[in-house]
Symmetry: C4
Subunit: 499 residues, 4 copies
C-alpha cells in the first residue's frame, strides 16, 4: 500500500496526549496508545508531540526498537522533512560551556589511570548521560563502598622471586583471555558515544578481552556481534521478560550467533531508584510550576507497571530448568549476594555466578562483591566445593591491584563496566584501548611486586583482608570543639619579598 | 457580668513585669502572676507586655491554653482593636530573604526522598521554628548517630524469589496498618504550618498509617481526633503531670475519644537542653547589651521550677499500677534505653515499649534505638520472651531501608517524626502524603530487592549488623602532614579552548 | 642605704647583653648575669634592655619573683619615670582588630556551654596568651584525643526512677564539695586576666568547688590563699625543684596556710615542646632575617639547662618517703599514665593519683586519662584494691556528661583546667561562675536522664565503654575517586522568584 | 686524536631523532643511538636536540654518567660556546612566583619539626623536583599510611624514674651511632640542591649518624665517600644490574672504599608508577595536542624495556650466595614485607633486613613497615630467633616519637629519607643539621617522658599497638543528610562594635 508523503503541518496537529505523532529518522509514528507503556514515562514523549524526536530518540533506543514495539499500523510513513520547521534551539549556556570544555580537553596520553577517564567524561558528557551512567541507588553508599572496600585489603608482597616473565592470561567459562577481566554489560552506550557498544567490542578484540553484551544496549544485538573479530569471545547478559517466548528468542538467537555464556541478571526484579538520574531528568522535562497536589501518589504506580513488562519480578529458582532446556550455553547467575545463594546455585548445577550488587544501582547498603567473596570462598573450601563453580565479581574496580586482590581471594575473573563507558565517552575506541592497556600495565607490575609469575599462583596468602566486613561509621564529631580548635600551621613566608 | 470594652491605651499602661497585660485574639489578659510560671520564660512575654501578642502566641499554644492555665479572673475581656496601634514591623532582611525563597521553592514533585523535604523546610521555615524542630541535646551527637547508625547495618539480599506481589501491611498493638511505620508524637506543629497536627492526621488517613497524638500539640487534642476519618487509628503520647488528676482527665478523655494506645514518655524527667534552640531564641528576645554579672546562676533555677509543673520527675515503676487502674488502653513505655528495662517492663506486663532517645533531644551520647534493639532481641530470644512484648523504635529513620533493617532486627514497627513535620512545613498536607508515598515506594522496592514477600518474613538473616555497637572515633589527624600532602589531581583541561 | 633616683637615660645606657638593665614597676634592675638563666630565654629580656619592661613582665611573673630570684645587689632602686621616654607603640593592625572584637563580643548570657567561652576567648585574647593556654605537645594529637575519647563512651540510661531530688555533692581527699570536679592547676593566669588566679578562687568559693593552686601561678601563692572564703578547700600542685630546700619551704608553707592536699606533678621531668606556642613567641621576638647557620644546635641546650633548675628530672619513687617526712598533707601523684604505676602508688601508700597527660602538653600520643581509667579500675577490682586509693582524671572535659562518664568508670572526681581559664580570660570572674553553673545544670540533668539520684549510684553499668582503647586511624582516601564523585544534592530553588 | 672545535651551528643541524646531538658542559655528544635506551624516555632528550642540555642534565645524572653509558666514539668534543645561541627563556610565571617565594622564605630557626622543612621545600623547590621526591605509587595510599600508621600506636609512659641522664646512642650492624636512625638512600639529590648528596654526608658527620649511599645518587659514589669525615660510617644501597659484572664492580669498589654494609633493594623488580611524577613530567615535555590514537599501547613497552637494563627482575634467593662470594660486607635485604621472608632471610644467614615498602613508591596498599614489624617480632620471639637478625624499618617517620615506637616494637634502628631531602632542598646543609638536631631533641625528651634512660630499655611494654593491623575505611557518608545538618555554632560577635 502506497502511503502518502506527510508534511510537518500534518504531524504538528497531533501534539497532545489524545493524539500524539512524532517524527523519527524522517518517518512519522502514532504513539498515542504507547504513551502509558513507555518505560521512560509519557512526559518525555509528549515533549516532542507533533515534532521531530530523532535527536532524543537515537541514543537510548536500538535501531530495531520501533519495529519491535510499535504495531505496523502506527507506522505512518515518510515525512517531507523540508516542510518541518526546524526547532529553534534555545541558547543553552550549560551546553555552550560543555562545548568549550570539549575543545580544551586533555589529550588521551594525559590519562594515567581509570579515574582520569571518569574525570574527563564527567566534564565533557551531556549532563543527562553522565547522570545515567554515574548514578546509584538511594544515597549511593553501596556505589562508593564498592570501590572503597578494596582499600580494606592490603597486600603481603613476597620478595626475591624471579619475575622477569609474568603471565597474566587465564580462562573464563573455558574461554582463553589475555587478562582476568571482562567488559561487563552496561546499558545505553550511545549516551556516551554515537557509535555505542561496538566500540567496546573492537577495543576488547585488540586486548583479547571478553565482552558481555547487554540486553539494554543502544546498538542492536546483531550489530555488536557483527563487530567482533575472529574468535573473539562474547557473552549475553539477560533481563528475563515476563513473556518467556521473547526471552527464548533472544537466548537462542544469541547461542546461534556464537555467544559463549548466558548471564541471567537476578538482582533486579525491579529496577532501582537512582535519584541523581531522576533529578537530572526532571530538570530536563519538568516544569518549574510549583505543584503541591497529591498526584504524586498515582504517578509512581505508572512507573511500576511500565517496568513490569520488561523484567519479570516472579523469576525464581523454579525457572532454572527452563533455561537449561532452551540453550546449551553455560548459565551464569549475575547478582548473587550471599553465600547461601551460591550454595543453592551449586545445587542447581550452575557453573558460575557473578557476585554483584549491580554497580550499586539497585539496593543501597547492599555489600560489595569483594566482601561477599571473602565470605563465600572459605565456606566453599570448608565444604570442598571451591572447584564446583567459578566465581566472578564486579563493581568498584579501578586499579589492576583491585583485580589482583579479587583473584587472591578466589575470584576467577572480574567485570569492569563504567570505567570503559567513561573512556569511550571521553575518547571513543582509543580511550577504551588505552584504559585496557593501563590495566594490563598495572597488572603486570602488580604481579611482579607481589612476587608471582602466573595468575594461578595468586592466593589468599598474598593479602590481608581482615578489614573486610568492618563497616565503620565514625561517631559524629562535635562541631563546637572542631571549630574552636586552632590547627598547627607551617612556618609562614614573609608577605613581602626580602629582595 | 458585663465587661467593659478595653482600649489599646488601657493595655499599653500595663507594660512591665509588675503589671503585664497582653492582647490575644482581640481579648486582654493579665499575665503578671503567670510570668514566673511560663515554661518558655518570662522574657518572651514581657516583650509583648501592653501589646498584641497573638502572632507569637498562636503557633505554640493550643487554642484552649488560656482557659486551662489562666484563672478566669485574669481574663479581662474584649479589646477595641481599632484603638490598638498596629506594631510597625521593622524591616527584617532575613524575613525578606525567606519570603524570596518561598517564592522560588522547588515543586513537590522534585522531592524524591525524605531529606529533600528537610532541605526545603530548612530554607523556607522561620529560623526559630526550624531551630525548635531540628535541634538536639548538647553536641547533637546522638541526634546524628540516630541516623548514621543505620549505615552500620548492611543487607544480605536473597535472589530468585518470586516477588511479583509483596505485602507490606502489618499490625501494631493489634491495629492493622498498611506499612510498618507510624507518625510519632512531635510538639508544636503550628510552628511549621498554621493548621498544625491535623494535617498529619489527614495524610495518615490517606495512607492507612497510625498517628500518635502529642501532649504538646499546637492543635487541641479534640481537634486532632475530630480530623480522623473512619476507623483511622490514633494513639496518645503522654507527659505525666505532677498533678495526677490532670493526667487522669487527659487519659480517660483520650480513651473515650477512641485512642487505641497510651504511650507514656519515660525518657524526659526533665526536658533536655537544646542549645541551637536556645541560641536562636536568644537572638529573638535577647538584647546585645553585654552582661557579665552572675545572674545566670538564678535564671536556670527558674527554668527548672517552671518545667517541674508540667512533667513529673518523680515518675517511677511504682506508678504503673495506677495507670492500669485508670485506663483499658494498652500502656506503652516510650523512651526505654537498655535491655534491663525491657525485661522490667515485661515483669510489669507492659505489652509494648518504644526504644527511643527522644529524637536525640534529651541525653547526648545516649545510643540509637536501633543499637539498643540489636542488644534487646537476642536477650529476649535467649529467655524466650520475644513474643511477650512488642518492640518499637524511633529516631533517625529517613529511608524505608532503615525501616526494613529495624524489622529484620526484631522491631514490630517504627516511629517517624521530624520528616513529616518538615514535609508539612514545606508543602502542607500534600507534602506529608507524598513523603509517606515515597516511603511506601521505597519499602516495596526494598522488599523485592532483598527477596521477601511479606513483613513476617523479615528476619536477622537478611542483615549484617556486626557494625552496631562499634563507636569509632578516629584519632585526631595531624594538621601539619595533612596540609603538606599534595593531592593527586585529574588531568587538567587547557585554560583556553583550542578551537 | 639611700639609693639615688635613677633616670631614663641612666637605664638606656645598659641596653645590651654585656650590661642589661630593665625597669619594672618604676624600679631598675641589673639582669645581665641572669640573662642565661632565664627560663624563657634571654632574647625576650634583651628586647627590653634599657627600657621599661613592666607590661611584658607583669602577666607572667608572680609579684615576688624579683625578690626570690634576683640578688638584692642587682636591685638598683627607684627610677624617675618622668624621665623615661614612653615607648611609641607601633600601630599594630592585629591588636586593633582584637580591640574591635572585644568591643563587639557576645554577652555572657550567650554562652551556653564551655566551648562557647573558649570560642570567645580565642578571639578576644592576645595571640601569645591564647597560644600559651591552648597549645599542646607536638602534633596535638593527645590534646584532642583527651576530648574526643569521651565520645567513645555511650550511656545506658535507666528509666522510671524517681529523680525529683538529685544530689551531686561528694567528697575528695575527705573534703566535701558540691559537685565532683575541681579547678586543676594551670600556669600564668594573668595572661588571660590581669587579676589572675584569685578570680578562680572566688568563683570556686561561690560554687563549693575545690581549687588546686599551681606552682607557676601569676599570683603569688599567698595572694591565692588570701582570696579564699571561709572553709573553702585548696590543694597545692608542686613542681619539685632540684633544690629540695626550696621545695620543702613551699610545701610546709602551703600546709601551714591550710592546703588539704599535695599534688606532685610526675609527668614533667622536662617541660614539653609546644610548637604553637614556640611559633607565636617567635613572631613576637624573632626577626625575619633569614638564618641558615647551624647555631640551632647550641640553643636547645640552653633551654634544657634553664629548665633543669626549676624541675628535677631525677625525681623518682625513692623520693616519696622524703615528702612524707616533710608534710602531713595527703600526697597525690599527678600525671600517672599506666596501671602498673597505680599499683606502685598503692604499694607506697599513696592515697590518691591523678591519671593525666598534663592536658596533652607533654608527650604526644600518650593516651587520654579516661582510657587509662578504663584499664585501671578493672585491674584494681580484680585485686580488690579499688578502695585503697582515690583515682582522679583530668584532660578534655567539656561537658558534665564527661564527668558523669568518668565517675561511672570509677573516678572519684575530675579536674577541669583550660575551660575556666578561657571563661576568665573572656569574662573575668562572672565568666567562671557561669561556666561552673553550666556544669552544675548539665550535671543535674545528666543524673536525671540516666536515672540516678546520687553520685554514689554511678557505676559501670550506666556506660558502654567498649570503644575506649580503639585507636582508629582511617586508611588514607584516594583523592582521585573522591574528587570525581558527584555528590547527591537537594532540590534546587529557582534562581529567580516566581512572584 | 685532535678533535676540531665544534660550533653551535654544527650541533643545531642534528636536532631530530634521526640525528640527535646535545651539548653538556661545553662538550658535544651524539646520543642518537642512545635515544631508545634512555630510562627517562627519548622525548626529554629530543627537547634539547641540537641544543645545550646542561641545565636539564646536571641534577639527574652523576658526573661520570656519560663516560659510563655512552661509547667514546659518540663523544664529539669541545664546543665553542660563544657560537651557541643562548636559549631565550620563555617568561615563566610559575618560576617567577617561585623566585618570589624563595626571596621571602622563613628563616631556618622557624622550622620546629620535620614537616616544616617539607612545607617550605614544597614551596621553594622546582615543581618537577618536588614531584619526583614527594610522589608515591598509584593512589599514594601506602605513602600516607606509612606516616599515619604511627598514630595507631600509643604510649604507656612510666613515671618517677630518674631520667636526668638519658643515653640515646646505639649500634647498627656493629657500628656505633649517636641516635638510632640513619640517612636512608634516596635518588637524585641534586634535584633539591646543586651540591647533592654530599650535604647529607656532612650533616650526618656532625651528628654521628650513619648514611646509606644510593645507587642512583646525583653525586658519584666516590664524591660521597670522599665527603666523609674521620671514621664516619657509610653503607651502600644496591640496585642489582642484569649484568652481574657491573654489580660486582660496584660492590667491591664500595667495600674497598670502606662501606660497612651492603643493602640490596629487593622490593623493586620493576620501578613503580608514580603518577604525580608522570603528570608533572608530562606538563614539562608534553604538548597539548589532543591525541586519541592508540599509540599508548606501544609506548609502555618502551619504558619496561629501558628499565630492565638497570634493575634485574630475575633477582631471587638463589643469588644470595653469589653476593656472599664477592664481598665481606654484611648483606642486608632492603624491602622485606612479610614475616615469611624474614624467616627465609634467617635461613640464608642474612644478618639484617629492612622492613620497607620503598617509601610508598612501589606497590600501593602494601602495608607500612611498622605494621609488618608488629607481626614479625612476636613470631621471631616465639621461635627464639629475635637475636639472630637485626630488623630495621623505614617509611613515614617524622617525629622522634615514631622512632621510639619502632624501637619499642623491636627495631634496631630506622631509616629516614625524604625529610632530610626536604631540609636540604630548602636550607642546604644547615637545614639537614637542624633537622637531625630536632630529632635528637625530640628523642631525648621522648625518652624522659616515657621514663627510660637508654635505648636498650625500650620494649613493647611502653606502647599500645593494638591499633596496628586495623585498616579502617569508613562507610561512605550520605551527602544529603550531611548537607542538611545545621551545625552548632559558637556565640556570634556583633557585626558592629558597641564602642
Amino acid at each position: 500500500m502506497q502511503q502518502k508523503i506527510l508534511t510537518g503541518k500534518d504531524i504538528a496537529e497531533h501534539n497532545n496526549k489524545d493524539s500524539c505523532w512524532v517524527i523519527i529518522h524522517g518517518k512519522a509514528y502514532d504513539v498515542t496508545e504507547f504513551l502509558p507503556e513507555h518505560p521512560g514515562g509519557s512526559k518525555i514523549i509528549l515533549k516532542y508531540a507533533g515534532k521531530d524526536a530523532t535527536e532524543e530518540f537515537e541514543p537510548i533506543h536500538p535501531p530495531d526498537t520501533l519495529d519491535k514495539y510499535l504495531d505496523r499500523s502506527k507506522h505512518l510513513g515518510q515525512v517531507d522533512m523540508s516542510t518541518v520547521t526546524a526547532e529553534e534551539k534555545a541558547l543553552d549556556p550549560d551546553e555552550e560551556a560543555r562545548q568549550q570544555r570539549i575543545a580544551s580537553m586533555p589529550g588521551l596520553d594525559q590519562c594515567f589511570n581509570l579515574y582520569d577517564f571518569e574525570s574527563v567524561a564527567k566534564r565533557v558528557m551531556k549532563k543527562t548521560a553522565w547522570a545515567y551512567y554515574s548514578s546509584g541507588a538511594d544515597d549511593e553508599i553501596t556505589l562508593r563502598e564498592n570501590h572503597s572496600a578494596y582499600h580494606k585489603i592490603w597486600f603481603r608482597p613476597r620478595i626475591l622471586v624471579d619475575v622477569e616473565k609474568v603471565d597474566m592470561s587465564t580462562t573464563m567459562l573455558g574461554s582463553k583471555c589475555e587478562i582476568p577481566f571482562y567488559v561487563t554489560a552496561t546499558a545505553l552506550g550511545k549516551l556516551g558515544n554515537p557509535e555505542g557498544e561496538v566500540l567496546l567490542t573492537r577495543a576488547a578484540a585488540r586486548h583479547g578481552v571478553i565482552q558481555m553484551i547487554p540486553t539494554l544496549a543502544s546498538c542492536s544485538f546483531d550489530e555488536i556481534v557483527d563487530a567482533k573479530k575472529g574468535d573473539q569471545v562474547q557473552w549475553l547478559q539477560l533481563y528475563v521478560n515476563k513473556d518467556r517466548e521473547v526471552t527464548k528468542k533472544i537466548v537462542q538467537h544469541a547461542e546461534k550467533r556464537g555467544c559463549k555464556g548466558l548471564f541471567i541478571t537476578v538482582d533486579a526484579p525491579q529496577l532501582g531508584r537512582r535519584e541523581k538520574d531522576m533529578r537530572t531528568k526532571f530538570d530536563d522535562v519538568g516544569s518549574n510550576v510549583q505543584k503541591t497536589d497529591a498526584d504524586a501518589v498515582d504517578r509512581s504506580q505508572g512507573a511500576a507497571r511500565a517496568i513490569s513488562s520488561f523484567i519479570d519480578p516472579s523469576l525464581s529458582w523454579k525457572d532454572i530448568p527452563y533455561f537449561k532446556s532452551i540453550t546449551k550455553m553455560p548459565i551464569v547467575l549475575k547478582g548473587v549476594q550471599r553465600v547461601e545463594d551460591v550454595l543453592k546455585a551449586i545445587e542447581h548445577d550452575i557453573p558460575a555466578v557473578v557476585l554483584s550488587n549491580h554497580g550499586g544501582r539497585q539496593l543501597d547498603t547492599a555489600p560489595s562483591a569483594i566482601e561477599i567473596l571473602a565470605e563465600v570462598m572459605p565456606e566453599l573450601r570448608r565444604r570442598n566445593l571451591q572447584d564446583r563453580i567459578e566465581i566472578y565479581v564486579d563493581g568498584g574496580i579501578r586499579r589492576a591491584s583491585d583485580i589482583i586482590k579479587a583473584l587472591c581471594l578466589g575470584a576467577k575473573g572480574v567485570g569492569v563496566g563504567r570505567p570503559f563507558l567513561y573512556a569511550m565517552s571521553a575518547y571513543g575506541e582509543p580511550g577504551v584501548v588505552r584504559a585496557m592497556q593501563l590495566l594490563k600495565d598495572e597488572f603486570e607490575m602488580g604481579m611482579r611486586l607481589i612476587g608471582v609469575r602466573s595468575v594461578a599462583e595468586l592466593g589468599p596468602e598474598f593479602v590481608d583482608a581482615r578489614g573486610l566486613g568492618m563497616h565503620s561509621v565514625p561517631t559524629p564529631g562535635d562541631s563546637l570543639s572542631f571549630d574552636v580548635y586552632d590547627r598547627l600551621v607551617a612556618p609562614a613566608f614573609a608577605e613581602k619579598s626580602k629582595l
